[in-house]
């Protein structure tokens, strides 16, 4: 439970550069204005490395991996 990770976007920081959707299309696609829509649910193990890379490569540091507490999806 506590090992589940979710991708969260700081919507105010996010500029819609779209790198995350290129790195991790399995979980992220862009809306019609170029802003990421993140699929609900925890990141499966085989995608963790890519998710981490998406977080690190975000040019405005708007993407983060957050641990879910009590199975609740973190929101910010």
């Amino acid at each position: 439970m506590s090992r589940e990770h979710h991708l969260v976007v700081d919507r105010i920081k996010c500029d819609g550069r779209g790198l995350c959707a290129e790195i991790l299309p399995e979980r992220i696609h862009l809306d019609e204005w170029g802003y990421p829509i993140v699929a609900a649910g925890p990141i499966p193990d085989h995608l963790m490395a890519l998710a981490q890379r998406a977080v690190e490569d975000c040019p405005v540091l708007a993407l983060a991996l957050a641990r879910a507490e009590n199975g609740k999806r973190p929101r910010r």
Binding site: R11, C14, E32, Y35
Partner: protein, 383 residues
């Protein structure tokens, strides 16, 4: 002791209740100690600013924070266009609001109370200042007034904290300073509960639109929307729908709405909320689509433009609504509205896009025939 009411006492048109009148009516501000928070939890009081959050739980969490560093923000920004109840309460019963704010400060051991009042709400500000001048020097020293900019999002609780902390009244995703934001009506309810031990059982609502006497009412929460309309003098012409909860609220078919009780828990169970307490009556003579398009345009303009999905999404939604309003119904725009409403929800730093989308979805549902068959006509019939 029996339940008390917020607006009992002197005639509302005759101005503010003085400290002497206030104490004469309700008795002095009690010192309930730490029991107050548990009393609030069991009272079931929920926030009256729009989010319906349980007050006791909020205070309990705030009280467990670091000692003395917290701030209480009494939120009287009231940016909701048709809402008047917070202004009326601050103007006519300022000491109730102050009592609630001081109780909150004591309960969470906050050093400062900030009265966050809409910059254009002159009479409220004057009344609160005058009331403050009647209080003790210690109480006066605790309070600071802060003018909330006249913007829809300025009343968002994160925007309120941001404003008093750094002067920027915009929602933020940064971790807030330890501040507890509570709507002014909620604080006034706390002031009554601290005295009687039981909730007043009433709430303030602003009835707007096609009623004989639009304005603020105090009504028992176990009464119905239909009764609220009667208190406001009844509808003045055949009504098409009710907007419950202001611009973040929901359109309801008249027949469904009339028998709904105002109780927050009952409304929640029905997927509804009284929100900020605005009850709007749309007459059949007004075009529901144009009305919706006008409100969507307003909400798009009130985005703080910080988050892409809200700024671009609400604008696109408003454009689609306007196209249907001006050029007539078309399946393409109906499809866009459905799709984008789903895309935008939950993707802002604050709840502004969520509220706007909730409003839009209720319009698409309640006014489905109007949206599907809307003839092209100008926006002249819109408010």
């Amino acid at each position: 002791m029996s339940a008390l009411r917020l607006l009992a006492g002197r005639d509302l048109r005759s101005g503010s209740e003085s400290l002497a009148e206030h104490v004469g009516r309700l008795g002095p501000l009690p010192h309930p100690g730490s029991d107050l928070i548990e009393t609030l939890v069991s009272s079931g009081l929920s926030g009256r600013g729009g989010a319906d959050f349980p007050v006791g739980l909020k205070w309990r969490a705030a009280a467990s924070g670091p000692r003395g560093s917290a701030v209480v923000v009494a939120n009287g920004a009231e940016g909701e266009p048709h809402s008047r109840k917070d202004r009326l309460l601050m103007t006519c019963r300022p000491h109730l609001v102050l009592d609630g704010a001081f109780l909150a400060a004591r309960a969470i051991r906050a050093k400062e109370v900030i009265l966050y009042i809409g910059e254009h709400h002159q009479s409220s500000r004057v009344a609160m200042e005058r009331a403050l001048a009647e209080r003790t020097g210690y109480e006066r020293g605790q309070v600071r007034l802060f003018a909330a900019p006249a913007r829809y999002v300025a009343g968002d609780s994160s925007a309120a904290v941001h404003a008093v902390a750094s002067g920027v009244a915009l929602p933020t995703t940064r971790k807030a300073a330890s501040a507890m934001v509570q709507n002014v009506e909620t604080l006034a309810h706390v002031a009554l509960i601290a005295r009687s031990g039981v909730p007043s059982g009433t709430l303030l609502a602003t009835v707007a639109g096609a009623v004989a006497h639009p304005g603020v009412i105090e009504i028992e929460s176990n009464r119905t929307l239909g009764e609220a309309l009667s208190i406001a003098g009844g509808v003045t012409e055949p009504a098409r729908a009710i907007l419950l909860g202001g611009y973040f609220g929901s359109w309801l078919e008249l027949q469904r709405a009339l028998d709904l009780r105002l109780d927050p828990l009952e409304l929640k169970a029905a997927g509804l909320s009284l929100g900020c307490g605005v009850i709007g009556v749309l007459p059949q003579s007004r075009c529901a689509v144009c009305e919706t398009a006008g409100i969507m345009r307003y909400l798009a303009g009130e985005s703080s433009a910080q988050c892409g999905p809200c700024y671009f999404g609400l604008r696109a939604l408003a454009d689609s609504c306007s196209r249907i309003a001006y050029e007539g119904a078309n399946p393409l725009d109906i499809g866009r509205l459905q799709r984008w409403a789903k895309d935008v929800a939950g993707r802002g730093g604050c709840r502004h896009p969520d509220g706007a989308v909730r409003f839009l979805r209720s319009a698409l549902e309640t006014f489905a025939p109007e949206f599907a068959h809307h003839p092209a006509h100008s926006a002249r019939r819109t408010a």
